[in-house]
């Protein structure tokens, strides 16, 4: 038998492996490679897509009547496929005039007819995001009369004179994307209006076309050179599904990707200051909140709700396990939205909490709640458990999967709910309409207030309704500030933190925008240079 010395074996394996070195120092100059967790995409049809990663894709495949400027999100919605609009005297009809000379990626012209059909289609399909349009009184039955194309204008008639800003903010949502009618009609199956085909294909006029979507693996986009906003600088965008933060970090350091979007606080700390890597902090729209169910005998008592406001160690959490990725925000409208408030009055004060409870004659109590088995939520729950214990309250935590907690929450069976709420469109009503809206507390509902059995005071609900109809933006803003002041004082649902996305990227990447608080990621303005 031939015998090999250990040294010979080592040498042989080194020779065998060494030529495999595949990593390059950087990605090609006109290709943007992003690592992200994209396993939540279930459809790329704008009338159905409602997940974060799905909207990140449709945002770039399609254009809408109005859109955001990625380099100036604060300016709010801007003319996009519509170049101007006007509101009728009764305030119930908005008529938008389409830009001339714009084409879809197929080469077909973008017509008012396409815009009207796209909105009608979303209402008729009635998928998850359809309510963004149906809240204006549109139904599958009446939408053909309410949304009409005439020449190069499209008019939308509503059941009430809603605020112009409210309507246009909703038209900037993914569900209002303008779709190439002629192309989609070639792929209709039964009465699906092309839904099955559009789930995995694209027919838009946005800056990128879909080259490939392999679920849980990759999304590839190719630039649409005739994009009406100018040819995108990055000719290809590749979004790889990389679930592990440390794997994203390794690839970023090796230069195999340009942007890593899901690094944990410790990996962010690890790459901070490394040559060639920069971190961009961007506040997003998601709110981490705590709901106290009013079905719970203890939590339904006002003094307990007040005491709980002092039992949350905001600073401690924001400076430790939430560091950099969540910041204190005690209001339900996120920063970046009309009417956002930066007042954060609640402070961590065990003694104050104890005093409130003692004054009310509450000497103790036990609450058993369900928490999703995500590290962040469990850490928050355990921090709360510790501070509640100091005030004489016992919190028992049952860990379960997200789906199980959600099931229980929908059945109004979670005493203390810890979770996130992400806005559905760029208007404050998206959050006001769920945190402070519960028209039928005894019946069936689906708003956050209903799930916490919080009977929102009639005056507050009227204020929420009135804010959607207020045409003057300054007045509208003040209305939301007032609603939130009242909410901070008395509501049993406590907004705690607002999400901050920390994207780590090669320093060659310029003008990256994840879409801020109001929208999804945009690629067409991104460039790479020295």
């Amino acid at each position: 038998m031939t015998r090999f010395s250990p040294r010979a074996i080592l040498l042989a394996s080194a020779i065998a492996v060494a030529p495999l070195s595949a990593a390059w120092a950087e990605t090609p100059a006109d290709v943007l490679v992003v690592a992200h967790t994209i396993d939540d995409i279930i459809s790329l049809d704008p009338a159905q897509s409602f997940e974060f990663s799905g909207n990140d894709v449709t945002q770039n495949l399609y254009s809408r009547l109005v859109d955001f400027d990625p380099l100036n999100l604060e300016a709010g919605f801007q003319p996009s496929l519509a170049e101007k609009w006007e509101v009728s005297e009764d305030g119930k009809t908005i008529t938008l005039t389409l830009r001339e000379g714009v084409t879809f990626q197929s080469g077909n012209p973008v017509r008012a007819e396409d815009a009207a059909w796209s909105l009608q289609r979303a209402v008729k399909l009635d998928k998850s995001p359809a309510f963004i349009l149906t809240q204006f009184g549109l139904t599958p039955e009446n939408v053909d009369q309410m949304v009409k194309a005439d020449g190069n204008t499209v008019s939308i008639t509503m059941d009430q004179p809603y605020a112009q800003s409210f309507v246009l903010n909703c038209l900037s949502a993914s569900v209002a994307s303008v779709i190439d009618k002629e192309t989609v009609l070639q792929h209709v199956e039964g009465d699906d209006l092309g839904n099955a085909w559009l789930t995995t294909n694209s027919a838009g006029s946005g800056p990128y076309a879909l080259a490939a979507w392999r679920p849980n693996e990759v999304v590839q986009l190719t630039a649409f050179e005739n994009y009406f906003g100018g040819a995108p600088k990055m000719k290809r965008v590749i979004v790889k599904n990389v679930q592990e933060s440390s794997a994203q970090r390794l690839q970023l350091e090796a230069g195999d990707i340009d942007v890593a979007r899901n690094l944990t606080p410790s990996d962010i700390e690890g790459v901070t200051g490394k040559e060639g890597i920069v971190i961009k902090d961007e506040p997003r729209g998601r709110i981490l909140y705590m709901g106290m169910s009013q079905r719970d005998p203890l939590l339904s008592q006002a003094p307990v709700q007040q005491a709980m406001r002092h039992l949350i160690d905001f600073e401690g959490m924001a400076n430790s396990f939430l560091k950099g990725q969540w910041r204190i925000h005690q209001n339900f409208i996120p920063e970046g939205y009309l009417g956002a408030s930066d007042e954060n009055p609640w402070t961590y004060d065990i003694e104050a909490a104890k005093k409130i409870l003692t004054d009310a004659g509450i000497t103790g109590g036990t609450i058993t709640t369900k928490v999703r088995d995500l590290r962040e939520y469990l850490d928050v729950a355990q921090t709360l458990q510790a501070s509640m214990a100091q005030a004489g309250l016992t919190l028992n935590i049952e860990q379960m999967t997200g789906a199980q907690v959600l099931d229980a929450y929908r059945a109004r069976e979670v005493p203390i709910f810890l979770g996130e709420w992400g806005p559905d469109y760029a208007d404050p009503q998206t959050n006001a309409g769920t945190f402070a809206w519960n028209p039928d507390n005894e019946g069936k509902g689906s708003t956050l207030a209903w799930r916490n059995s919080y009977a929102v005071p009639a005056a507050m609900q009227e204020a929420v309704k009135a804010a959607t109809l207020e045409g003057d933006s300054d007045k509208r803003k003040q209305m939301y500030l007032d609603i939130q002041a009242e909410y901070r004082a008395n509501a049993p649902i406590l907004p705690l933190f607002q999400r901050v996305e920390q994207a780590a990227m090669r320093d060659t990447v310029k003008d990256w925008s994840a879409g801020g608080a109001v929208t999804s990621v945009m690629y067409h303005q991104v460039s790479k240079g020295e």
């Binding site: 038998m1 492996v17 060494a18 030529p19 495999l20 070195s21 595949a22 990593a23 990605t27 090609p28 290709v31 490679v33 396993d39 995409i41 279930i42 459809s43 790329l44 409602f50 009635d126 998850s128 309510f131 099955a196 789930t199 995995t200 490939a212 392999r214 679920p215 849980n216 693996e217 990759v218 590839q220 590749i238 790889k240 599904n241 990389v242 679930q243 592990e244 440390s246 794997a247 390794l250 690839q251 350091e253 090796a254 195999d256 999967t401 789906a403 199980q404 959600l406 099931d407 929908r410 559905d424 769920t434 069936k444 509902g445 689906s446």
Partner: protein
Amino acid sequence: MTRTAPTGGQALPPAGAAPVPALPPAPGSGRLAATGRRARALGGILLSLALTLLGLLLVTFIIGRVMPIDPVLKVVGERATPEQYEAARQAMGLDQPLAVQFLTYIGDVLRGDFGRSISTGHPVAEDLRRVFPATLELAAMGTLIGVLAGVPLGVVAAARRGGWVDQIARVAALVGYSMPIFWLGLMGLLVFYGILGWVGGPGRQDILYDGMVPEVTRLLLIDSALAGDWGAFRDAFGHIILPASLLGYFSLAYISRMTRSFMLEQLSAEYITTARVKGLSEGRVVWGHAFRNIAVPLVTVIALSFGSLLEGSVLTEIIFSWPGIGSYITKTLLAGDMNAVLGGTIVVGVCFIGLNVLSDLLYRFLDPRAA
């Protein structure tokens, strides 16, 4: 002369898989009768295959339905109104009795329709065509490494019992059994990809080669070799070698220990003493006599090891962003996406049964008595 009796076949899950019945010698009858018997035997195999699969599907289906996970929520989202929720539930057929749901599904599968996955939006058949080759390629490479290293290691460890090779094999197996794959995978990536840059990073290939090689088998190594694109081949190899070595290491630990114990049993047998007395070289005694006699049980061990890798190694797939069937089934199961889970179960079940039949056929080839 003693021989180790075949131990495999029936040990392979899922229980009840089809062994190949031995054909009795034809008593002077014509070719027609022999063909008839073969056809009956083949029919028997197919029937037991079908029953096994049906049982597997039934169990999976019931588990999927009793799980406290609501697939409707995945479709309508958490903000849906009760009316939207109910409409989706009916559209998905979930308001029907369980038996009706199951029979409808089986009917669709028989027509070749595996349905659409609610968590990927794609037809399940298309998803499986994508994720299964990824796992097959990884499992095959892993097993190859496990066999090429584990079998010689086990044989040498037994032949030189107590020697340094035996000690190394023991430590390697111990570490292989006890080290968390998650940690080992991350360390492997850090050292061989992050620091040394010897291998490719997570994923099956680099973006430069993505979509460049025509899809024939969907096994990247084979497809790139068929296309003669050696750059793509080297890139695919550079990506697969680390996760495959990791999986190979775990199967090495198992294969080498089993090989060693099979060999020890043979080496203490009388025919080995006879062979030595006759003056045969040690190499001939070990490889020519003892090793040939462990081939049959070894086939079972290797098939078992390959089978377990084919189910997919979920953690390895997650660390290496490997789009395989393990993470596909896990993810879809957690979403209550039963079309996808059942489709994946059929593929894995067929693989196990196929491996079972294959190892039975190999016994006949390796063991003259079974032929």
